[in-house]
């Protein structure tokens, strides 16, 4: 049975050439978009790992800070009673 619309492609060669050009253009676009995505992906991972590293740094600082606090208290207990050391 004939296709209902019956129009078909007006000029298959023209369409073929356009399709061919389209494939090539899209290769360029895909390439760019893929690389943009890779860049983006990298940024995401970079952020994630950096956060981890910062967190571990923060942990170390935190410990130091608390140790320092204890030491400060101890020192202040000593300096407020100077008589003990004379």
């Amino acid at each position: 049975m004939a296709r209902a619309g019956g129009h078909g492609m007006g000029n298959p060669v023209n369409v073929g050439i356009a399709v061919q050009a389209d494939w090539e253009n899209r290769e360029f676009i895909s390439n760019i978009s893929l690389n943009v995505r890779r860049l983006f992906d990298f940024l995401l991972r970079f952020e994630a790992t950096t956060k981890s590293k910062l967190a571990s740094l923060n942990e170390k600082l935190d410990i130091l800070e608390r140790k320092l606090e204890v030491l400060e208290v101890q020192v202040s207990s000593a300096t407020t009673n100077p008589s003990v050391f004379n």
Binding site: G5, H7, M9, R26, F42, S56, R66, V73, V84
Partner: protein, 1241 residues
């Protein structure tokens, strides 16, 4: 830029993005746009370029798609609708006059909501008419326009689905009619002042009918469709399409399958509205086929084995495919076939992954629906939940999942999330390969397969071959096929040349291309007539050979997969979205509550399941449920677009995360504590124990949890590790505080238990410190003991110990010299009854598990009723060298003050004695002696003073004995320490029991140090010997220092003074002050044997009367124990009255008399043994007591002579002239002891 993009991007991979964090969470953030390849991003406007006369069809598709989009928004509006009426205020009576204002305000509020409902009503009417019109247009038998395409089918089905859902939602919302009736009431009130309200009223009535009619939307659709009776054809086509798609599992993604499942019954109902039509339908589709589609096993539990195997298998294969991709990427210029194989393999794996994910997520949906439709009959009658009423939601969720089912669900969610994460991770790595593979598949088909078909099967069929060449034209990429520059000449090429000639181009076909290809294939196989019996590819009427049909069919289905694979990220997002598990709007409405408690929430139930079962295999999945929250929050914001839902989710997440962290901490702490307690338990004991296994702890691993520095929850990044550390620090402090409080509320005997528990805690700290950076244990301990200050010598423990000693131990405990123990005297009831009963803390504050706690309580129970050497060890260990001197000092002060307090009482007793006391006469025998002693001791009037003195003596004795225990313990500790350090210092035992040096110049310790430095310096691997030489020299110098310091530290300990000796010297000095009162200097210059002024006389009397009373059964005399003798003897010894006492003591004399008498009696007995000896009758008791007392006194005196020799002093007590000097001035005075720290007051 001079640098190519690829190179720049590749350079990024040189960054080290290593991360310790394990993947125990799914994708927490997804960035996906609304429009992706599956839904042509440019609305199929490029379809026109292919000149296939699909303009009408495309327009219709776009129109339907817009409607679907709108419909979804309507559905979310309806779904999230919550009743306003409940929030409407009532006016108090006093404000009735402003009722009209309230009506107006209410009307305005409700009007806004109702206008939305009106919008839905209007929209559904227009959507139904448009859908009906669309169906009619494309189902005309004469086919004026091309179409409908497959995409068009899908749009129709999806719109139908939206309408069905909307209708269901409308039916389910009971609050809408309710709100509406309020609205109508306020409208009648408000509208009285308005003019021309007829149209509004009409509209209102319309809306009322719409809202109150069940299935109003579908009824309307039905009416629209059958207005012109021509749609049943397309309905049948759609039904066949649905059935075939479901049977062949054509839909890659579960949402599509579910759409089909939802729509199919409605379609069948619509298509069978008359007898004739249903007959024609069932002719095409048998009833059984329809029924079979809906038969399934819905419980995940039944599929878990398969799922687990699938997961394991897939994840291994996916990882290996990934590795190959990475290898491929790193090897440039790889040969074509190999790279194509790897990429093809990758593509297959990705498709398989999508299928797996789709199947699994679909199962969760289905199980969820299954559970909703089958509420549990009877919620378990939990004793904790007294209330007998349950929400419906609890029946379908909370009590509807068994433990096993929860486990299975959690496991499956974990699989879905982890596979999703794994696939998403390599998004950019695989996309090129996927594009290339898809490109190749398409090109292979249109260039190769179609070519073959064109040359064989379709050569004669003009129409069909035109379709085939159209397919080639619109999708062939000839440039990619290097050997075929020109399509016109391709028929001349030979088979061999066509092989292996594709140049892979990493570009995928567009949505429009796929759309058109699918359309053309359909055209080809159906010949444009879809009403033919059989399925799409099932009919053989088209005259196409079976092999070609098969190829076309395969390619047709592949095409529909392509789009989903191209939408890699979006597809993963859809397939791993499990947010629906949280939503419960329907039940909120039916239960008339604002929100359910957290226990009813499925994600939290899963978290709870993990924390309660503490299944080692599930622990690492404990964060997976938070992905559900992430998903549901995402859904609330992007799909439902409702802020309030997000707020509710956020509130629940906040709560549940806090709870989780707390529970997690408890689990971790309990686990390590149990381990510590189990380690410290005597292993030989547990080995012998019948049920010793219960003291072993099942191993758990928390490594993964400890490494979580960034947990993604609702867009926030949470450092779980630091949270755990923080709370762990807090928990340790709480625990120390708890133990101290417990000790403070008990008596001194609890010190062993305290030490045990603190030891366990310390070991716990050690093992947790391997993973977490906790505060140091000693600092925490001193912080909780409140002796962080450098100048404070007291602590909570030391002040508690002293407090206990002063108020309880010294007055109420009595000494048993033989067992070296103090026990509580009968009368000395403990004041514990007034104390706050020890708060029963949580199990993890003791030993973790219940069994271990019981075991330790059993052990410490042995030490609870006395105070002895073990307790002293505990005291020394707990107080340490820092707080111990404080206690000693306090105790010495106590002795000194007791002595001072005793002075006037002793004087009073002395005054009651006769001026001179002679020796007891042997004449009267025992009875006579007793009589004389009674005459001498006329203290009846002063019995109170006597008792007080005895008590004072008892306290002094106890304190002294305590010191001697302390001395023993310190000696033992020192010796142990010395034994351990001696080999390092090169000390060996000499012949005469003296310590001597084994090596003349160096100790083994320094030798070891220098050997180590030499070895390092001389090693060839040593990179920089000169710096090591410097280090070696430094080490030598340091070791010299070490030698000196160790010598000082450890050797000196050996000769350090004894605490007991110190205490005795101190007591002696304290006594010196009262010397004149207790020791009468004889006027004659010689020893006065009759004086009653000396202390020993008083003590002698006290001892005698005490002994007498102690054997008297009629008078229940308070037992004072052996410490009285200790105090008395010590004082006498230090006053230099030991010999006096031994000569003149009443009891001793009494014993002498008894001995003599006994000897006489036994002589007498010897001659007449038949007569029973009754001379001593009545005196055995007292004599025995006296002997005992003498033995004890002798023991004390001998100890004193050993520890505090007075010989030299006695020797000095003879003047050079030969005249005795009765008392030398001692060099030690109280002021000599000022070096001991003063007790903080």
């Amino acid at each position: 830029m001079a640098i190519p993009v690829e190179e720049a991007i590749a350079a990024l991979s040189t960054f080290s993005l290593e991360d310790e964090q394990p993947d125990v969470q799914g994708l927490a953030v997804l960035l996906s746009s609304e429009r992706y390849a599956t839904n042509s991003p440019i609305e199929y406007s490029d379809v026109a370029a292919y000149r296939l006369s699909l303009g009408e069809d495309t327009k219709a598709i776009n129109q339907l798609n817009t409607l679907i989009q709108e419909g979804k928004e309507m559905a979310s509006l309806l779904y999230t609708y919550r009743s306003c009426v409940k929030a409407l205020p009532q006016l108090p009576d006093s404000m009735k006059h402003s009722q009209a204002d309230l009506y107006l305000e209410t009307y305005q509020v409700l009007d806004l909501e109702m206008s939305r409902l009106r919008e839905i009503q209007r929209w559904q009417a227009s959507a139904a008419s448009k859908l009906a019109a669309d169906m009619q247009r494309f189902s005309r038998p004469e086919r004026l326009v091309n179409g409908p395409t497959i995409t068009h089918f899908w749009s129709m089905l999806k719109l139908l689905d939206v309408l069905v859902q909307l209708d269901h939602l409308k039916n389910a919302k009971a609050s809408i009619p309710n709100d509406f009736s309020w609205y109508k009431r306020t409208f009648t009130q408000v509208s009285t002042q308005w003019q021309d309200t007829d149209t509004m009223r009409e509209e209102l009535d319309d809306l009322q009918i719409f809202l109150s009619t069940r299935w109003a939307i579908l009824l309307n659709l039905h009416a629209e469709m059958f207005r012109t009776n021509t749609v049943e054809d397309i309905l049948q086509v759609l039904i066949v399409f649905c059935v075939e798609s479901l049977e062949l599992d054509f839909a890659l993604l579960f949402p599509e399958r579910h759409t089909l499942l939802r729509v199919l019954p409605v379609l069948v109902v619509l298509a069978t509205s008359s007898e004739k039509e249903s007959e024609s339908l069932y002719k095409r589709v048998k009833m059984n086929r329809l029924l079979n589609i809906f038969k399934r096993h819905y419980l995940i539990l039944n599929h878990m084995g398969t799922i687990r195997a699938e997961h394991d298998d897939f994840s291994i294969r996916f990882a290996s495919a990934m590795n190959q991709m990475i290898i491929l990427k790193s090897s440039d210029g790889a040969d074509n076939d190999w790279s194509r194989d790897i990429k093809g393999n990758m593509y297959d794996i990705v498709v398989e992954g999508f299928q797996l994910l789709s199947r699994w997520t679909g199962r969760i949906w289905e199980q969820c629906a299954w559970k909703f439709s089958r509420p549990c009959k009877e919620p378990p009658s939990d004793s904790q939940h007294g209330s007998t009423t349950f929400f419906d939601y609890e029946k379908v969720v909370r009590w509807n999942y068994t433990g096993e089912e929860r486990r299975a669900l959690l496991e499956l969610i974990g699989y879905i999330k982890s596979i999703g994460l794994m696939m998403q991770r390599c998004d950019t790595l695989v996309s090129e390969a996927l594009w290339e593979t898809i490109h190749m598949e398409v090109q292979d088909f249109v260039q190769d397969k179609l070519d073959t078909m064109l040359r064989t099967t379709f050569r004669k069929k003009k129409d069909l071959s035109r379709i085939l060449s159209d397919m080639r034209t619109l999708s062939a990429d000839w440039m990619a096929n290097t050997s075929k520059g020109d399509p016109e000449h391709n028929s001349l090429e030979t088979e061999e040349m066509r092989q292996s000639t594709f140049y892979p181009r990493p570009v995928a076909p567009t949505a429009a291309q796929i759309h058109c290809l699918q359309f053309l294939i359909c055209e080809l196989v159906s010949g444009g007539n879809m009403r033919k019996p059989g399925g799409l590819f099932g009919n053989s009427g088209s005259g196409i050979p079976v092999e070609d049909l098969k190829q076309l069919e395969t390619f047709f289905y592949k095409l529909s997969f392509f789009l989903h694979i191209l939408d890699y990220t979006a597809t993963i997002g859809t397939l791993t979205d499990l947010g629906f598990l949280w939503f419960r709007e329907f039940y909120l409405e039916s239960s008339r509550v604002i929100q359910f408690p957290i226990e009813c929430s499925l994600p939290w139930m899963l978290v709870e399941h993990v924390t309660e079962t503490q299944d080692a295999g599930l622990l690492e999945s404990v964060l997976i449920p938070f992905d559900l929250y992430n998903d549901s929050a995402q859904h609330a914001l992007t799909c439902l677009k409702q802020r309030f839902l997000y707020d509710e989710i956020e509130a629940e997440v906040d709560l549940s995360f806090d709870l989780l962290v707390e529970k997690l901490n408890e689990i971790i702490f309990t686990y390590y504590k149990s381990c510590a307690a189990s380690t410290l338990l005597d292993s030989s004991f547990t080995y012998l124990c019948d049920d010793g296994e219960k003291y072993f702890v099942k191993p758990l691993r928390f490594d993964a949890i400890f490494k979580l520095r960034r947990v993604m929850v609702l867009g926030r990044t949470i450092d779980l590790r630091s949270l755990i550390t923080q709370r762990m620090n807090k928990l340790f402090r709480e625990n120390i505080d708890f133990l101290l409080e417990r000790f403070e509320s008990g008596d001194l005997c609890g010190v062993v238990e305290l030490q045990q528990l603190l030891d366990i805690l310390e070991l716990t700290h050690q093992s947790i410190s391997k993973f977490l950076e906790l505060d140091s244990y000693s600092l925490m301990l001193s912080e909780m003991q409140e002796n962080l200050s450098l100048v404070s010598y007291s602590s909570r423990i030391s002040s508690q110990i002293w407090n206990e000693m002063q108020t309880d131990f010294l007055p109420n405990f009595i000494l048993c010299n033989t067992t070296q123990r103090f026990v509580r005297s009968l009368k000395g009831t403990h004041h514990s009854s007034q104390r706050s009963s020890a708060s029963t803390g949580k199990a993890y504050f003791y030993c973790g598990s219940h069994d271990l706690t019981m075991a330790y309580q059993g052990i410490s129970g042995l030490y609870r009723d006395f105070f002895g050497i073990p307790h002293m060890f505990a005291v020394v260990k707990l107080l340490g060298s820092r707080s111990l001197p404080g206690i000693i000092r306090a105790l010495l002060d106590h002795i000194s003050s007791k002595i001072t307090a005793m002075v006037p009482k002793i004087t009073a007793l002395q005054e009651a004695l006769p001026k001179s006391i002679g020796l007891l006469s042997f004449d009267g025998g025992i009875a006579g002696c007793q009589k004389i002693v009674h005459e001498i001791l006329t203290w009846e009037a002063k019995s109170e003073v006597k008792t007080e003195v005895l008590h004072d003596l008892k306290e002094i004795g106890s304190a002294l004995y305590w010191m001697s225990l302390l001395d023993i313990v310190l000696r033992q500790i020192d010796t142990t320490q010395f034994m351990q350090s001696a080999p390092w210092l090169g000390l060996i035992p000499g012949n005469d029991g003296q310590v001597k040096h084994a090596y003349s110049d160096n100790t083994p310790f320094t030798t070891l140090l220098s050997a180590a430095t030499n070895a390092v310096a001389s090693s060839p691997a040593c990179p920089n010997p000169s710096s090591f030489l410097v280090m070696a020299k430094q080490a030598e110098a340091a070791s010299d220092l070490v030698e000196i310091s160790t010598g000082l530290l450890y050797k000196s300990n050996l000769n350090s003074g004894s605490v007991l000796e110190y205490a005795l010297a101190f007591t002696s000095a304290a006594l010196d002050r009262h010397y004149s009162k207790w020791s009468a200097t004889p006027k004659t210059g010689f020893i006065d044997i009759t004086t009653s002024k000396d202390f020993y006389r008083v003590f002698s009397g006290l001892q005698y009367s005490y002994l007498e009373e102690s054997i008297n059964p009629s008078r229940k005399q308070e037992m004072l124990g052996d410490s009285v003798a200790w105090a008395g003897c010590t004082i006498m010894y230090l006053l230099g009255q030991q010999q006096h006492f031994e000569l003149f003591d009443f009891s001793y004399q009494f014993l002498n008399v008894a001995e003599v008498e006994n000897a006489t009696v036994s002589l007498y007995q010897y001659s007449d043994r038949n007569k029973s000896p009754n001379f001593l009758q009545g005196y055995e008791g007292i004599l025995e007591a006296m002997r005992k007392a003498r033995r004890l006194n002798n023991h004390v005196f001998s100890m004193l002579r050993a520890r505090c020799p007075l010989e030299d002093k006695i020797a000095c007590a003879i003047k050079p002239s030969g005249a005795p000097l009765h008392r030398m001035k001692f060099t030690n005075t109280v002021s000599a002891f000022e070096t001991l720290p003063q007790r903080a007051t």
